[in-house]
Symmetry: D2
Subunit: 280 residues, 4 copies
């Protein structure tokens, strides 16, 4: 979620042996046009409702793979709701609003790689299949959930404006159980991006092995390569955050909020180009 | 969709004989708190993508009940996509964004009642159950569909800004079939509300009769009583509108666009209070 | 849900004044073919997972309208999950499986009308819009929910067979919160229909008043007229039933299970013809 | 979809360097319990509605990767709708019917590997995220769609029984557009499994490369290893199959039915253990 340079070039997958059906992803087909995913770059424009909070630093550490360390502020975390539009390089998906929109909820943990501040995303949920699968291509652990988030209004009385006193809510349900609720009540605006939303994400690139290999499955630490980062004005105020008994298990529950800090409401844009290996 | 005065007072339904479970609507319960619907007033704040078009005036006339006449511009029609937030008088629903948001698509036909310009809504679809049922309380023929609509962006490259050249799309699917697609390409902005979105709606209040009555089911012509109408600046430009083979039948297809006019993108707010009888 | 005779004849609604667009229900249209609902009779074939339980008799009594009394077994209740197919008289909907299928969860309370055993349904949820609206036509308080229910299997290892030891589950979520969970573990089969599924349903026919009337909204007690009732063999065993904190409020929570009895798994068919007035 | 032996052993993925969070799949977590996917074996029990048809043999050949040949009957194809329950080795998912059920539609093309009859699945859609992702683990190109399929009934009039004259329908919609419709009208039953549902599936194991490698992305031909295959009695009759303009593109459209053959309705169970490399 921050600017880096040196974009990788998209490549096209081919069938075994270099002939036959092709595609950036499954499904492979004669021309490659059936690929469920388009190759990067992918543009994103989103509305974010985010709450900063603190977790047990030991719990957070257990989510960090070798290579990542807790860093200067080991218990810092954030819960992030976002309503996105996305498109490929040619923007084609924008003409089909049912295809280019999705909701997302994710947790971010502060960490460092070789002394550089980064964020680790231990959990993420989206409400569309293409962004879910694209998450796994990046090493981002996106699952499927139901995500709702307040929309700022400019007219009428059914919603809050982006102004002091405005309240913005987010809610995540998974398998028909409410798992997370958050809200932000605005107090002020500024131009400083929230720390955890302004550092690179360090993901673990791994995928289940269907055919057993001698070494077992591979897992590599990667950073996302992002450009054209753009923030709107940042509205901030007091945050609320609750983890409910959503059936997500003890590992998720170990990241429960111990203390809740500020919340932020803002718009955010970026272009995602590919991954850069941190460790092999 | 326009201001009127003389708001009716909400009333509470009770069980047969004036005792037992109560409620504004089903389900009736001891305190009335289980009612699926809250009584009006209901506040609405929405984002609208609207395309003006022309239908066969004879086809439109066949959708007008006695009391309504085609008026000065008999073939004028509009296709309207809207993304709404709503809440009751106390605003309670706003804290649960999954409950207070819905999408809507509707058709409007120009008409007159006793010489006064009004709009008739022959078809409407929403994607949530509460607004659907609330539609029938008003005589508005809301059915269930899948509705998607572009969201204007302010940062990033995944969407259009509200500025000349910006493009906004809407799409309706019903029972897994694409039925309507529309788009607007912005050219200019102004402060003149689109005519068909600025006149009262005349609905037919009727509901199937479960226990046969001597006279058969009743149908009354009503106008919606609305206050606190608010428009944002109106962005306008060229419109596109297609009816696809969505399995909606010949009656719907009789309202196919013969000519497509301007499109508009704007925000709209209103408060809906109740109905006023036009004819009994 | 039991056989009665003397079917009412379906009628067609018309627009105000007897001309203009027509239909059994909204939307009215030139030929009536746009009506969201078809007129009865409606055929139903379903798979049922049902758990008998006991509620606080005083709580149950507060859900009974004048005319209904608690009867011989005042705290008897049932929680019923069903997976339905339905069709109109001509069976047309069956060719579109996305249209003719729905899931349902409902609560039944034992009661009597003039000494005759009946059942009262204080709450019901379905996952499709047409059955929801059709519920209100009958006075059945159907709301929108997410309903899942085990399917018996005949081959493979992913599910239970209809045989001793087989386990069948049901779950209701409303607005992304899990509200009810039930299961039945089969022990035996027989041909005796569960009592609460074999008596007529007494509903309150009422609908919010949009235009205030002198008397206020009307509410009438009706019984559903059903024919061609058919039960499969009834599989029975021990039941489990939990109400979770699903945000459904205190009135719903007053019907929490105090004791859980037997559960039943069976197939059920009926034809629904209309309503018969019990009290005006 | 047929029996093979020599099951692979499930393995657990670990984070980079062999320490840190673990899991069979993303999300990795301290105990591995957050993994979205459970390791195989996976049990499946399904109800199948299947129509045999013929495609242009040249079109089919363009979907075959090196190593697969068209075989003895080059234009043979099938369109398969299935309603599944699934569970892991311990059956835990069966207690949550919203989690263990999904619908699927897939296309099968006849082919051969080293003279042995197999089937190639160029396209598949499911309506749940876990089976979609699990498809990609196997090299099966599952995308997200809306799938509906008739359920046989045993009582009542809302559906067909498994008997001569019974009709069973399936429908696929993708992104709100109807793409495929099929139906089978039963004439007879037997115990011979349909050929294309009784041969192993040959998939291409490949996944987009996020960090560019020297060789480009790998793609390997694998066969699924399946045991405990079980068929119910096979009901067969005349089939119908239509590809509609579902926006799925020219590659999909090249597999349009040229001739439609028999249809089959049956139950099917299997256990899926892993993959076996056909070519590297």
């Amino acid at each position: 979620m921050t600017t880096t340079t040196g974009h990788s070039t998209p490549r096209t997958h081919t069938g075994p042996g270099g002939a036959g059906p092709v595609g950036y992803s499954l499904p492979l087909s004669p021309t490659g046009a059936s690929s469920m995913l388009t190759p990067p770059p992918w543009h994103f424009s989103g509305e974010v409702v985010m709450v900063e909070y603190r977790v047990d630093p030991d719990a957070a550490r257990r989510f960090l793979p070798p290579g990542l360390t807790p860093g200067a502020d080991p218990g810092a975390a954030a819960a992030v709701f976002a309503t996105w539009q996305w498109c490929s390089a040619d923007g084609a998906e924008l003409a089909d609003p049912g295809r280019c929109q999705f909701g997302e909820f994710l947790i971010l943990l502060s960490c460092e790689f070789e002394g550089r501040p980064m964020a680790r995303c231990p959990y993420a949920w989206v409400d569309q299949a293409v962004p879910m699968m694209r998450g796994w291509v990046q090493g981002m652990p996106k699952q499927f959930g139901t995500i709702h988030q307040s929309r700022p209004v400019t007219v009428g009385r059914a919603g809050s404006r982006l102004e002091p006193g405005g309240r913005f809510d987010g809610a995540l349900s998974v398998h028909g159980r409410r798992a997370v609720e958050a809200s932000v009540t605005l107090e002020r605006s500024g131009d400083r991006a929230p720390a955890l939303h302004d550092v690179p994400l360090a993901h673990t690139l791994t995928f289940p092995e269907w055919v057993p290999s001698a070494d077992g499955p591979r897992a590599r630490l990667v950073a996302s390569e992002v450009s054209d980062v753009e923030f709107s004005r940042i509205w901030s105020g007091s945050g609320n955050l609750s983890f409910l008994d959503g059936g997500l298990g003890d590992d998720f529950a170990s990241l429960v909020p111990l203390e809740v800090g500020d919340g932020h409401v803002f718009a955010y844009g970026e272009t995602l180009h590919g991954g850069r290996l941190l460790t092999d």
